[in-house]
Subunit: 239 residues, 2 copies
């Protein structure tokens, strides 16, 4: 462990995923906000929101701050993704970026304002980004799809209570394929990840559907022994 | 992304796990090498091997180098674990440590020499370590046990071919509990992680047993789109 500062800069960036309907097909897909760079290198290119780590900020605090500054959002889920540190990833001098990923609920994403320098993109078809940010987005999408299979991460995209149809639509949107409703119900109920509530959802086009909630007792796959964090106004798990 | 250097130092440390028999019980358990600190802060305390990131080294290269310098080992498996960056984790000034974890085969661990300042400890009962290294070890052990359930990580502890008994002993050593041989066989064969070879293992105390190998087609849960790395003299997967 170094006592002296090295010539390596440290930055924190955040991949933010939300589910939104595609404007043409209407199908739910994964979207993410990007910021336009206003200085070199890569001026004018789109990039992940982020910035240098402030000396008095924890890593996750830094991620949450730049996220709030760019999108006005506080995420339901904020987790460290990976540290990217290839020697030649930044032309202006060596930068190691510790990348977080955040999942936000669709209603939250709706309030996020687009400006000239902040725009939402479909995550599977972002333009050519600054630095190695295309690789980072690709890795984050892979991790999201992979983690959906063995964890309860999908819950970050729904409300505190939800119907199994709503949860299935989240899986379908992330995986970009239709899922058989009966099979999905069997798998989810068998996993112990959700527990039924006493309440029904009414008022939609369909007949009333049972509301479920996330089974917190089965949700220790994120943090392990790491201290869990709270962001302002919201309880959330990070790992 | 910062163009200027911050006042934060960057270090890379490595948690190295190997399976070794416990000297008293003879039972296989998880062991790890630690290095004694020879300067402040925490002089005399045991710590994870590591050091400052060199400006011309990639993160994984740095992890592999300090690992080789302290233990003479090249790991079968080397993966980024987590970046630890709490503000107050180092009394000598702010240090963010990007931690890798490595799994080495028992035969490899046997050649690792102990010196006055390098010693192997049972991972579940290390002494009070420097910095926040106890938390890091605890998190790495949790990750190892967790990942054993949903990935083929156990293969890093066995040879290219192995019997199902050998693989079960790895699971038992990591989880520290006996597993039913018939159940284990069913689960592993059902997972598609291993494929039988044409060969039998002979010469032991038991009747000849089928040798299996790792099914590489089913092993994409590690890297995703990240470029895979080779370390000197060894092919390995990192994520």
């Amino acid at each position: 462990m170094a006592a002296h500062a090295t010539d390596v800069s440290l930055a924190v960036s955040t991949v933010i995923f939300a589910l939104r309907p595609h404007p043409e097909t209407g199908r739910m897909t994964v979207w993410m906000p990007l910021v336009r760079r206003i200085r070199e290198p890569f001026v004018g290119k789109w990039a992940l929101p982020g910035g240098p780590l402030e000396p008095d900020e924890d890593l996750a605090e830094s991620a949450a701050r730049t996220l709030a500054e760019t999108t006005l959002l506080t995420p339901q889920y904020l987790e460290q993704l990976y540290a990217f540190g290839n020697i030649d990833r930044s032309p202006g001098g060596r930068v190691v970026s510790i990348v977080y990923w955040a999942l936000v609920r669709s209603e939250e994403a709706d309030v996020a304002v687009e400006t000239e320098n902040v725009r939402w993109f479909e995550a599977d078809s972002v333009p050519e980004l600054a630095f190695d940010h295309n690789l980072i987005v690709e890795y984050a999408l892979w991790r999201l799809r992979n983690k959906l299979e063995y964890s309860s991460i999908a819950h970050a995209f729904v409300g505190d209570t939800f119907t199994l149809s709503e949860l299935r639509e989240v899986h379908e949107a992330v995986l970009q394929k239709p899922l058989d409703p009966a099979n999905f119900r069997r798998q989810i109920e068998g996993s112990g990840q959700v527990v039924p509530t006493e309440h029904l959802q009414t008022g939609g086009r369909h007949r009333p559907a049972r509301l479920y909630r996330y089974n917190r007792a089965a949700s220790d796959e994120n943090n392990g022994p790491l201290p869990s964090r709270s962001l302002p106004g919201r309880t959330q798990g990070a790992s």
